[in-house]
């Protein structure tokens, strides 16, 4: 496939080069070529017929007279002579025809004339005469015709040269293109072979191949990044699922060995572990789906204040049990938001879970919806210990853990899901120091601004 494309490129380049030369050649030919040659032919043929008559009636002497006549008329290019079949002259001012023994009909070629040095380019006609002799008469090319003939011969050579040059040009272009394409293809082959570390070499000339190479490299970087994330995710998933699966197994084993009475209680524990495991998987799935942005079709206009109040109401009894005062802050009321109510609620509920689990010591948790310049902040603040800045990246990593002794199943996934939901809404998850405590908020572009991208805002 690649070879045939290179071949086509070569042929195209060759054809183009050839066509360009041909155009120049054709133009020169058109400008220099006149009907002089045709006029000469007609004149020569007529003269030959007349001379044949002269020769038939008066013989060689009459012919010589006729030639002398035209010489004395100043037409030194006029010639006529009697030649043997082998080309040797018998009489007249024609000494030899360079093109060989005489043949019937009009020809052009070089002839040697008496009283002239060198060959003369001429058009001539040979007539068969009695006794195996030939009557050859003609007229030398004038200066103009000679020039034309030279130009035409040169043009013919130029055509041959341009074919050669075209082929050479095609080969060079094909080799150049082939080499640049091959460089990219080799990288693609290696990538296909599984080694993602290769990159297209960029020549630095900034041409189209460089642009293509840069684009391919950017694409490969992105793929490598995603692959890396995926590998890390699967590694973490496999690693982090070991402990709940291990607990599940231990409980199942204990249940299998237990007496009838104990068994029911132990089996309930097995089910609990299985449910926890399923929750982890569901959350991982939800993160994946959110990052894939498929849920945007389910976006609808919703009130952020209502959402925050509903969640505050939902978590209020739990907070009270923990001795935490949970409040909702929704004034000034933020404008409506175009979003996914379920996923936003889940993200907020994860932030609330975290705040209640790790920030309950502060005694206060605030869930808020704050309008900001061009954005909306949905989030949760606590007054606990917070997350030191150096550990924040770890916190939002899928399965990231701040405290390895945490035994809550699926801990660490919560922030990752909140971040994925923020991304789904074209926003970001921001973790800040609440002095003391942690403020985790989804910063989402405001509805009006997003509408403006689609050109929906009328000039006021």
């Amino acid at each position: 496939m690649r070879a045939s494309i290179t071949l086509r490129v070569a042929l195209l380049a060759a054809t183009l080069a050839f066509a360009a030369s041909l155009a120049v050649i054709g133009f020169i030919f058109w400008r220099t070529h006149g009907d002089d040659a045709e006029a000469l032919r007609r004149q020569v043929v007529e003269q030959a017929a007349a001379l044949a008559d002269v020769y038939a009636t008066g013989g060689a002497a009459a012919l010589d007279d006729a030639v002398d006549d035209s010489d004395s008329n100043g037409d030194s290019l006029y010639f006529a002579g009697i030649l043997r079949a082998d080309g040797r002259p018998v009489s007249g001012n024609l000494l030899a025809v360079e093109a060989g023994p005489p043949r019937a009909g009009y020809r052009t070629g070089e002839v040697r004339l008496r009283g002239r040095d060198g060959a003369v380019e001429a058009g001539f006609v040979a007539h068969r005469a009695p006794h195996g002799l030939w009557l050859v008469s003609g007229h030398g090319f004038g200066e103009r015709l000679s020039f034309q003939a030279t130009v035409e011969r040169s043009l013919l050579i130029a055509v041959a040269l341009s074919i050669l040059l075209g082929l050479l040009c095609g080969l060079l272009v094909a080799r150049y293109v082939g080499r640049r394409v091959d460089a990219i293809a080799v990288v693609a082959d290696r990538i296909a072979g599984g080694d993602l570390s290769h990159r297209v070499a960029v020549s630095g000339s900034g041409d189209a191949f460089d642009a293509l190479g840069l684009q391919i490299n950017a694409m490969l970087d992105r793929i490598a990044l995603l692959m890396g994330e995926l590998r890390m995710l699967t590694d973490c998933l496999a690693h982090d699922l070991r402990s709940p699966v291990g607990r599940l197994r231990a409980r199942a084993e204990a249940a299998a060995r237990a007496s009838e009475e104990e068994r029911d209680g132990l089996l309930a524990g097995v089910l609990q572990e299985a449910d926890a495991l399923m929750r982890i998987l569901a959350t991982v799935l939800e993160i994946g789906r959110s990052e894939a942005m498929t849920a945007r079709s389910q976006f609808a206009s919703l009130s952020p204040a209502e959402l925050v109040e509903e969640l505050a109401e939902m978590y209020e009894p739990t907070a009270e049990e923990l001795g935490v005062r949970l409040t909702a802050e929704t004034s000034p009321p933020p404008p409506p938001l175009d979003g996914h109510r379920q996923l936003l609620a889940q993200a907020l509920s994860n932030l609330l879970d975290n705040a209640l689990a790790y920030g309950a010591g502060g005694g206060e948790v605030l869930v808020f919806a704050r309008p900001e310049q061009g954005a909306l902040r949905l989030g949760v603040e606590d007054r606990g210990q917070g997350i030191p800045p150096e550990e924040q990246a770890e916190a939002r990593r899928r399965f990231g853990r701040l405290d390895s002794s945490r035994s809550t199943s699926g801990a660490g996934l919560g922030l990752a899901l909140a971040e994925a939901v923020a991304h789904l809404h074209r926003g970001e998850l921001v973790l800040e120091d609440n002095g003391p405590g942690l403020r985790a908020s989804l910063v989402l572009p405001a509805l009006t601004e997003r509408k403006a991208w689609g050109g929906g805002v009328r000039p006021g």
Binding site: R279, L281, E286
Partner: protein
């Protein structure tokens, strides 16, 4: 009490497990393996409930559902699916199903939902406004007031809705996720015990000062409102 249930499920093991379980509850279960058969059998509207797998050979579950609803068949449909994300569930519910259950599920969860759907169908006639009586609890849906043994019990709006939902499913198990979906209209699994805390708060209000418990915890499954333990 037996109801006629159509089970459309291509996985033999799941189907056999569900068929046995539902039959033990006294239901008559008819099982078909693909979407086309399912649509054909369901199209006379004679079933009380359809349990429909979402991913089926031939015609998929949502396709069957759309075709049924387009033909004016209003038999309640419970969708079973391995597609577990929130947006998948919303898509299933928007597609016209009455409930959506994610695989793998416990049989208890399925049974609770099946019973709730069957009951909802039968109760369509008793209007919303009628008083609901459960044991010695009296609920007035119009005034949104609750009395137990004649004594007024003050409930917050959410607690009231929780109680009304439990009361409309009197004597039946209602799971945590059903409560989250029906009372809060949220379709994710909070993982923590937020729902349980709401229920225990409601229970305190209902049972404080009374000898008889009415709001029972069913271990490993959910809650049940009713006179007897």
């Amino acid at each position: 009490m037996g109801r006629h249930i159509l089970l459309v499920e291509d996985d033999r093991d799941t189907a056999a497990y569900l068929q046995r379980g539902l039959a033990e509850e006294g239901h008559v279960v008819e099982h078909v393996q693909d979407g086309r058969d399912g649509l054909f059998r369901a199209s006379d509207g004679s079933f009380d409930l359809i349990v429909l797998d979402r991913m089926l050979p031939g015609l998929d579950g949502l396709g069957v559902l759309r075709a049924l609803r387009a033909a004016g068949i209003s038999t309640p449909v419970l969708i079973l699916s391995a597609l577990a994300s929130v947006s998948d569930r919303i898509e299933g519910l928007d597609g016209g199903s009455d409930d959506y259950l994610v695989k793998p599920f416990s049989f208890g969860e399925l049974l609770a939902r099946v019973n709730a759907l069957l009951r909802r169908r039968e109760q369509r006639a008793p209007a919303e406004g009628l008083r609901i009586l459960v044991a010695d609890i009296e609920i007035d849906p119009l005034a949104r007031t609750v009395r137990r043994g004649g004594r007024r019990i003050e409930l917050k709006p959410r607690e009231y809705r929780l109680l009304e939902f439990l009361a409309r499913n009197e004597g039946r198990v209602v799971t945590r996720t059903m409560l989250l979906e029906q009372v809060w209209d949220y379709h994710f699994d909070p993982g923590t015990n937020v729902i349980d805390v709401h229920v225990s708060r409601l229970r305190r209000k209902l049972e404080e000062g009374f000898d008889q418990p009415v709001l029972h915890t069913v271990r490993g499954a959910g809650y049940r409102l009713g006179a007897t333990g």
